[in-house]
Point group: C2
Chain length 301, copies 2
DNA sequence: CATGATATACTCATCCAGAGTATAAGGAGA
DNA sequence: TCTCCTTATACTCTGGATGAGTATATCATG
């Protein structure tokens, strides 16, 4: 009887937003997510990863949440016929290292998922992608209708609207259809985003999807903001994550009716037009009550 | 340099609802959740658990979802100074084994968490619990206010309303305050529910919380229902999981405006009064579209 | 045939989210 | 200095969803 011995590995999807662009920390020149073995010295998984990231990047991790645990057999480390278990985490950090000295390479989310950014309208690539997916769906007879519905729903075709939360479902469909490079087979004639090592891009998709869902009911955005910020800066950050533009008046209404932030008393005129008030997150006061709220208003435009 | 070798173990929170009561599958006469090593032969974590449960209970698992991965050092299996990683899952099964022959022991959720069942009003135990928690919160000076707010929010004191989703937060607070038996110290003078081995009750709380959240936006309830059912049976099942009573007319409105179910054409008069129409879940048609909907109406009473 | 029980159908008020419009306050350039 | 442009901030309107209550239908039972 074999005992369940396995290699335990930690993988991090570390995200920051700088200049209105969501970034992920990578290694190997953008080809892989940072990862490392889970060592005996660590107190727990959570703290193990925290220490490890601190060492690697010099940045403290604000918010840290477990994503998923994988154990597929087609992973590396299969040297000794041993299984490798990967425990992935989503982490939010406040700032990006000064680009130059630091080794950590930050890359934009949308290099890897160009079809996920709808801030400037529906990306052109989506036409190609959905064409190919529909062809793929129509090809296989047995589960044809089922596939068609999955594609239409995930990509917001026909009557369905684009749903930014379905990042993972979209990637998985494209993977099944052989449209992404990692798959090996198919090799992706269309420009389907930058590939990554092994299943790292899938893990990144998991992280993006999780964060997009989360910002709607938990005030995690503030983990990505500087100490003080304007309302538009906050909105731009949310938009960057969601890959959508928001309705400005409604965004403001929602934010202040939740009382998550307070004025610092200062204003900044670095924004161009009329000077904007600066706000800060009300850490202390809410921490727990905030569990309930924090929705965000979406719009068509 | 230590390599991340660890024992991988699977733990399941298997849930069924019979006669309007939510149950969990246990071993050791209700003292532990079923668990087992993750073996080399398994294709993946998911399928490993699926096979294992099938063997143990004879029931197929309908819905299966990963809950959380733990790796605390105060777990068992610390024989060889080796860490043990526990990957927990939430599984839904349609029926309970005929009580008698089968070994699996099903126990009601609310044996372990009596304060979580509000279907017959606020349980009396909650007065004791919140008294003790407030005393505990008031005792420690430094973070007093913070603790007070956590308790009030989690248990719906003062202005806050009872929120059924906070099962895990409530258990954790009680654990911190030494009100549950697992904590060791304190030994729980009050009847704070049946204890479990190690951190199994915490894992159960995680599963309950996850399921309570999930039924609000995904049609997972149907994994617990028989092929055909009446609307009231469906409502009773949801109420059992949420630990709350629902507003009947609104429940019905919500269900049929989501078009999740369809009439079978038959009726049953086993329910007492006027015979009720039987319905079935529309598996095929929706599977994917259903991703969006499936909320449920809560009420005060 | 009345009564009690459950099933099913409607109505009403409130709140909230999406969408649009209007005014304020700065800077840049004619 | 005045005008225009840009961004910030404030207000209104409408439709739909949600919480809550009420009325009618159809069975079994005494």
């Amino acid at each position: 009887m074999t005992v369940g011995l396995a290699l335990a590995e930690l993988i991090a999807v570390l995200t920051a937003v700088t200049q209105g662009e969501p970034k992920v920390m990578t290694v190997r020149r953008g080809e892989a997510l940072p990862s490392g073995p889970f060592e005996l010295g660590h107190r727990s998984l959570q703290s193990g990863l925290r220490e490890w990231v601190q060492d690697q990047t010099g940045h403290p991790v604000g918010y840290l949440e477990q994503l998923y645990t994988f154990a597929d057999r087609d992973r590396t480390h299969e040297s000794a016929k041993r299984r490798s278990i990967s425990i992935s985490y989503l982490g939010l950090v406040r700032e990006q290292a000064a680009p130059g000295a630091g080794k950590p390479g930050w890359h934009g989310w949308y290099e890897y998922f160009p079809w996920e950014d709808h801030r400037n309208g529906r990306p052109a690539i989506l036409s190609d992608i959905s064409d190919q997916l529909q062809a793929w769906a129509a090809a296989e007879l047995p589960r044809r209708e089922h596939r068609k519905r999955r594609v239409e729903f995930a990509f917001g075709l026909h009557d369905a609207a684009w749903n930014e939360d379905l990042t993972l479902q979209r990637y998985e469909l494209m993977y099944e259809a052989g449209l992404v490079a990692e798959a090996g087979h198919g090799a992706a004639e269309i420009s389907s985003g930058r590939p990554m090592f092994a299943d790292h891009r899938r893990i990144l998709a998991t992280g993006i999807a999780r964060l997009r869902v989360k910002i709607k009911y938990r005030p995690v955005v503030f983990e990505l903001m500087p100490e003080s910020f304007t309302l538009l800066q906050l909105q731009r950050t949310v938009e960057a994550l969601a890959g959508l533009t928001l309705h400005k008046p409604n965004f403001r209404r929602l934010i202040d009716q939740q009382q998550l932030i307070e004025e610092t008393g200062e204003v900044t005129s670095e924004t161009g037009g009329r000077p904007a008030k600066l706000f800060r997150y009300r850490h202390a006061v809410l921490e727990e009550r905030a569990l309930s709220g924090s929705k965000l208003p979406l719009s068509r435009n």
